[in-house]
Subunit: 321 residues, 2 copies
């Protein structure tokens, strides 16, 4: 169960470092995001410059606390791979040129505050588990459905990382050996159905099969366009989302059969279309696992949205010291 | 790591209760099976009668120990579902008419020894982990490939049971949505490729497509016949085992991607055909997960065979008191 009693009632700062933007939030002892800052990452300018701008934003946010000395620490999350223990970014593919960056130490040096580093999906999972859709659950799987598909699993209150810290790669399990080729080199991965780029590719293909080839240029189609059109009732876009949801439900059924977890919280960009994706996923689950298991599975949207990683980082910051 | 130091150097007895036979073994302090007994289960005669015959065999085995007082306890395993904490068999489908049987207490009363009850696949996994193919590993998945397909997972030295004690149902994850109908009601489960009955059904179908319908009566085909013929070079049987191995490898790849475990030990009847099944499984893994993950995955045969459950039960018995 969520052990809220162990938390310190401190003010903390959460930082969500992404490929294109950095979101910072000042979080009060009641776990409300009181102040926010949003900066461009400008990854090619390098990590030193990014950390300097983060530190300036941290200084501004601290002034919004009752006393800037009451800010106890910082949690920061970023795309992996990273080593949460040593606080080092290894070589995130979305942050070109950043390699073996001791981010935790750099942020600590620049701000004078203690810092914890975590993978972004794991931070979002912790946020939902303690403050969002996972409140009160013992076990939860958080599934990112955005540019890629991945999962962070919380089992009995602990992140399940796996011995090589690489558990939860749900986007690349095979669910259809006759499926599309995936960027990973294999065929029929969940990500070839359910990611933003997969929605775009499948919608473009569906359009091409209906229209003259020049009716819509494929390069202007992206995942958000597909979800927008589905929301407006476009039957081709709805079909693409139904396939995406079926794939997501198949993967969740496999997770439920293997891990025996009941609650699946879906977040990130594609998840914003809500039930257009989640209803086909829920419908698929009983077709891919035991009925006794399916009857326990719940698939819900993230409650915290973009605040999930910030609140998860806030939780991590509260565990410091 | 396996914590051999915590074990008591006692003599113990392991009992593997199956649908058709009961195997008992007296295990010495060096974990050798010193004496064995094998009885028919005679399930329709009921659990009382079976326990009475087990107790008689236990009394015989104790006489083979240096001093019958040095036998410290009994571990017993059986098909599930069961509650290992209360020691109750719930309603095993293979033991018709046995329902809510307090087996642990019944065996303790009949023998005067302390008893622990565990699911048979989990006991076999513990046996391999401590004394067989898993020695020295931190994490291991044991996969039963027999009449059905299931798994028992040991993570950081602990059985991973899941919150409802139903983790590891690897036989019923979907790997091919265009596959065969499974006994569970769904389509394309691992078990429709890799179990003994699946080998028989697929071989019969392959024969029927090559020969006149009467060339071989399908009712005489069983899993062991298929593995025997494959061992003799029968190309149809080899093809069926190649498909079975591919399915097993796909499932292992999913487990590796989700759970991040490296070592997979394959046991039970179909696994006896060894590399005829395991080589196609190994070849399939890199086609269904990241190369970095595939490079770590090892798929090996059970080392202990039928002694696995008995030695796992012996380990459990050593944890008593």
């Amino acid at each position: 169960m969520n052990d809220l009693a162990s938390e310190q009632p401190a003010w903390v700062i959460g930082i969500d470092l992404g490929a294109s933007k950095i979101a910072l939030g000042l979080v009060d002892p009641q776990n409300r995001v009181i102040g926010r800052r949003r900066l461009p990452t400008l990854a090619p300018a390098g990590p030193q410059a990014a950390v300097a701008r983060m530190a300036a934003a941290v200084a501004e946010l601290r002034q919004a606390a009752p006393d800037e000395r009451c800010v106890a620490g910082i949690g920061i999350c970023s795309p992996g791979p990273l080593d949460h223990r040593s606080g080092v970014l290894i070589e995130p593919p979305n942050l070109t040129g950043w390699r073996d960056i001791p981010l935790r130490q750099m942020v600590a040096d620049a701000t004078g505050l203690p810092v914890r580093l975590e993978h972004d999906a794991k931070a979002a999972a912790l946020g939902e588990y303690y403050y969002g859709a996972g409140r009160g659950a013992a076990d939860m799987v958080y599934i990112v459905v955005g540019t890629g598909v991945g999962a962070a699993m919380i089992i009995g209150g602990e992140l399940y990382r796996g011995p090589h810290n690489s558990a939860g790669e749900v986007g690349h399990i095979t669910i259809d050996p006759a499926g599309d080729r995936c960027a990973c080199g294999n065929v029929g991965c969940v990500e070839t159905f359910t990611s933003g780029p997969a929605l775009a590719a499948r919608y473009a293909r569906a359009l091409a099969s209906r229209h003259a080839p020049q009716a819509e240029r494929p390069e202007i189609i992206h995942g958000e366009l597909v979800t927008q059109r589905a929301a407006m009732g476009d039957p081709l876009a709805l079909g693409v989302l139904a396939e995406a949801g079926e794939a997501l439900g198949t993967a969740i059924a496999s997770l439920a059969m293997l891990m025996d977890v009941d609650l699946y919280v879906i977040g990130s960009s594609v998840a914003r279309c809500g039930d257009l994706l989640l209803e086909p996923a829920r419908a698929a689950v009983p077709r891919h696992c035991f009925r006794s298991v399916a009857s326990r599975v719940r698939i819900v949207c993230s409650e915290l949205g973009d605040d999930g990683p910030i609140l998860g980082c806030a939780w991590l910051a509260r565990q410091l010291g």
